[in-house]
Symmetry: C2
Subunit: 115 residues, 2 copies
Amino acid sequence: MMDPLKEQPVGSIAVIFISELSPDNRGYPEMSDRMAALAEEQTGFLGWVSLRGDAGLGITISWWRDRISALEWKQVAEHRLAQRLGSERWYRRWSLQVCTIDESRVFDRMAVEPE
Amino acid sequence: MMDPLKEQPVGSIAVIFISELSPDNRGYPEMSDRMAALAEEQTGFLGWVSLRGDAGLGITISWWRDRISALEWKQVAEHRLAQRLGSERWYRRWSLQVCTIDESRVFDRMAVEPE
């Protein structure tokens, strides 16, 4: 995972993916790792972050330079297969939002009060 | 927490807040609960989701009907105090992105293959 607290440019794209895992997670951890590695190779990829809670609820955010690069990632053949398996097997529910970043701020205490 | 997988309207606002907790979390859990309850009372509030991983990394997303309601929430006095304490005490780093939702999809397997 690249630094998930990096500032992202205004006008770039955030893809918010929220999911509930089903009990059947055969092959899921491997596919998840593979998709992360594959996304990082895509043109326009800016970063990602992913957390999953105890109740099976997960949040993954990926950032993309523009709408085209986010759309190209959606169409990558191996990623399409993962999406299909996701809906057939791994996820009970999911929601996906493609968003344009209007405003972006970061805070780092070390920059304010160096130790 | 309201249903975090609910479909959000195109044109509404997602606020992505990612944070790294500092070791000093005095008062943090109480404030966090209070802010969630207070946000739910705001005009234009659509929902939120929050997860924190073992390494202290957290993701909170809140959804708002429009930019005005997101901005009004930022300005609520009690929330401003929480923001100040956050940067002074609880968070080592954070990043915040205000985004417009361009596209929104949801999937529910029960709707596809009823049990």
